[in-house]
């Protein structure tokens, strides 16, 4: 793919403001598709499957009471895949006997919908292996939301193993400033009011020194080292803007909420090819408060990236 096509496909994460703060930046999702296939489909699902096989303890977790919700996820995602990508996925249904076919991987999976013994792995784990997205299932229980199941191969520096079973606010408690003006309460309230048939989406961004998708907390000692190697000269190539497209669906039967997270990455040298993006990003990064920069993992090399961006702006 050439770089203009990369740019066009990249989900630009910033709004019209020159400053960035945590906020609920969700908007209604239309069309309501939980899944998106990109050119890196095959590479990314292969990587996901490899990680799931080698590191199941950090990539998959589920509580037993999530099985019904997991089947709802299977239904939602398969329906979306065969509707939007009919040449790549097929489904044959005879009552509850389903045959799901992934044309690209040449797989045909037969199972009885709703019967978890008819699959070799759990429903969420099964369907997650056919999509690039990470899939998180938050169950609404007793007036709160809990991360009760997930298939997570491409985390932005957090641990599914550790956070599994926690409430939304517990999970986000390490984020500095996230509790200011009760933002955590307000976002929780928003999530709990998501209704079936009316999904939402938002974008979240961070910077990454390196180009790994699997930036788990478990391997931080490994990939985190690259932060020390960023210079003004190599920032364009080494540093990547990482954008998570997060989509939120209410599952009507179990009353759970499905988060699908599609992680996109673009090296800064490509991102800055579009001058308005370059200028906006420079303003935001320059102004970014230390507590946000720290949490997004940028502190160690923000100066180098700003110097790189300044030089790029001079070139134009």
């Amino acid at each position: 793919m050439n770089s203009m096509a990369d740019l066009r496909a990249f989900p630009y994460p910033f709004g019209d403001s020159d400053v960035y703060r945590y906020s609920n930046n969700a908007i209604p999702l239309d069309p309501p598709n939980p899944i998106e296939l990109t050119d890196s489909y095959f590479d990314e699902i292969s990587l996901k499957r490899e990680l799931l096989t080698k590191h199941p303890e950090r990539c998959y977790h589920s509580a037993p009471h999530t099985l019904d919700a997991q089947w709802e996820v299977v239904d939602l995602i398969i329906d979306n895949l065969v509707t939007h990508y009919p040449d790549r996925f097929e489904l044959e249904k005879k009552d509850d006997e389903w045959v799901f076919s992934n044309v690209q991987t040449n797989e045909n999976i037969t199972f009885t919908f709703g019967d978890s013994t008819s699959l070799k792995i759990e429903p969420l784990d099964f369907i997650g292996r056919h999509v690039q997205e990470d899939l998180l299932l938050m169950m609404q229980r007793d007036g709160n939301l809990f991360l009760d199941a997930g298939q997570l191969c491409f985390p932005a520096n957090w641990s599914l193993y550790f956070d599994a079973g926690m409430s939304f606010k517990e999970i986000h408690s390490p984020i500095p400033g996230f509790k200011d003006q009760s933002l955590d309460d307000r976002i929780l309230q928003f999530l709990m009011r998501i209704e079936a048939g009316s999904p939402w989406w938002r974008k979240n961004w961070s910077l990454l020194a390196g180009n790994r998708l699997d930036t788990s907390l478990e391997t931080f000692a490994d990939w985190g080292q690259a932060r020390k190697r960023v210079t003004k000269e190599n920032a364009g190539e080494l540093v990547h803007l990482r954008v998570e497209v997060q989509k939120l669906f209410r599952l009507p039967k179990s009353n759970g909420i499905l988060f699908t997270i599609h992680s996109h990455m673009l090296p800064l040298e490509k991102f800055v090819q579009h001058p308005p993006w370059l200028e906006k990003f420079y303003s935001i990064l320059d102004e970014l408060p230390d507590f946000i920069a720290g949490y997004k993992g940028i502190s160690l090399y923000r100066k180098q990236v700003l110097e790189y961006l300044e030089e790029e702006m001079r070139k134009r």
Binding site: D142, Q189, F190, E195
Partner: protein
């Protein structure tokens, strides 16, 4: 609520449950299954009247054995503002209607060891789906249900047949039967969650009694039927308390747009009253809340509104 995602359904069947309550069975227009839903869910129905669209909320259930259908029960209210009258007098089998997806603001407790439902009159409806879900999951529950008489007790035969050991009925105008009393709350085991649905007074009495017996608020749940919302888009004026500025909000413009037009940088995201980002503080004045984000408590506190969809009545003073 402001998003336009709706379902088209056809009335398959209408049955008189009592002299004032009708049950409507709804099916998908294309004979596919309607979406599943959790216990306690409701739908909004959109009724096309000559005077405009009436939005009404009804609890959802399915007493048929066929999956993928919606059922609602509508009581003909004496002071009907049009909704229940329309259902009773105008809706016929075969009619096409628009309804919302199922939504649930009255969910079952997850950690309860035992669930107890207290219903009066048409307040039985949310419990039908809740009991069906608990029965399927083999969880422990019981129902206490008050009506004027056996004849006025909707779903009496259904309940007696499906949950014979778990229902107790209380008929106020027949002799020899006990009245439904909050004292029953004294006898529930630890780990019980209680659910109340009925007239305002009944909900209040039971809630107060449960609290006085030492029930944590966490274990007490109730559902009031939401008052009908008639959206009016009239012009109003706003005063900004801090800057002293004053603006007019025309009928066809949102408060958010007016504020932003005059350079007041209210953050926003969804513009349909769903995300909560464009909240502003209200110092004085009455607000018509048209959002689907704020809780009832937040609305009653009168201190906040979502500027993208909600509007003032006459004159509003904002803390800006």
């Amino acid at each position: 609520m402001n998003q336009t995602s709706t379902l088209r359904v056809r009335v398959r069947n209408i049955k008189d449950e009592t002299s004032t309550i009708k049950r409507f069975t709804l099916e998908s227009m294309d004979y596919s299954k309607l979406p599943p839903y959790s216990g306690g869910s409701h739908i909004t129905t959109f009724l096309s009247l000559p005077s405009g669209t009436l939005e009404r909320q009804y609890s959802l259930f399915n007493t048929t054995l066929e999956p993928g259908l919606f059922e609602i029960a509508v009581r003909l209210a004496e002071d009907s503002t049009g909704g229940s009258r329309f259902w009773h007098q105008n809706v016929q089998a075969g009619d096409a209607l628009t309804v919302s997806f199922p939504k649930n603001y009255f969910p079952l407790s997850f950690q309860a060891k035992h669930h107890v439902f207290y219903a009066a009159g048409i307040g039985i409806t949310p419990f039908l789906s809740m009991m069906a879900e608990l029965a399927e999951k083999e969880h422990s529950f019981e129902l206490h249900y008050a009506a004027n008489s056996k004849e006025q007790c909707a779903f009496y035969e259904h309940l007696r047949t499906v949950y014979p050991d778990r229902c107790r009925f209380y008929f106020s105008n027949s002799e020899g039967t006990k009245r439904l009393s909050p004292k029953l709350l004294l006898d529930h085991r630890i780990g019980t969650h209680v659910y109340f649905c009925g007239p305002e007074r009944m909900i209040e009495d039971f809630t107060n009694a449960a609290k006085s017996y030492g029930y944590p608020s966490f274990n007490i749940h109730w559902e009031r039927f939401a008052p009908p919302v008639n959206r009016e888009h009239k012009p109003f004026s706003v005063n900004l308390q801090r800057s002293g500025r004053q603006f007019e909000v025309p009928a066809n413009t949102s408060l958010l747009d007016v504020l932003r037009k005059y350079g007041i940088n209210v953050p926003y995201s969804c513009r349909v009253g769903g995300c909560g980002t464009c909240e502003v503080k209200v110092a004085e004045g009455e607000v018509f809340h048209y959002d689907s984000f704020l809780t009832e408590e937040q609305r009653c506190s009168k201190g906040i509104m979502l500027s993208c969809v909600s509007r003032g009545k006459g004159k509003l003073v904002l803390d800006l």
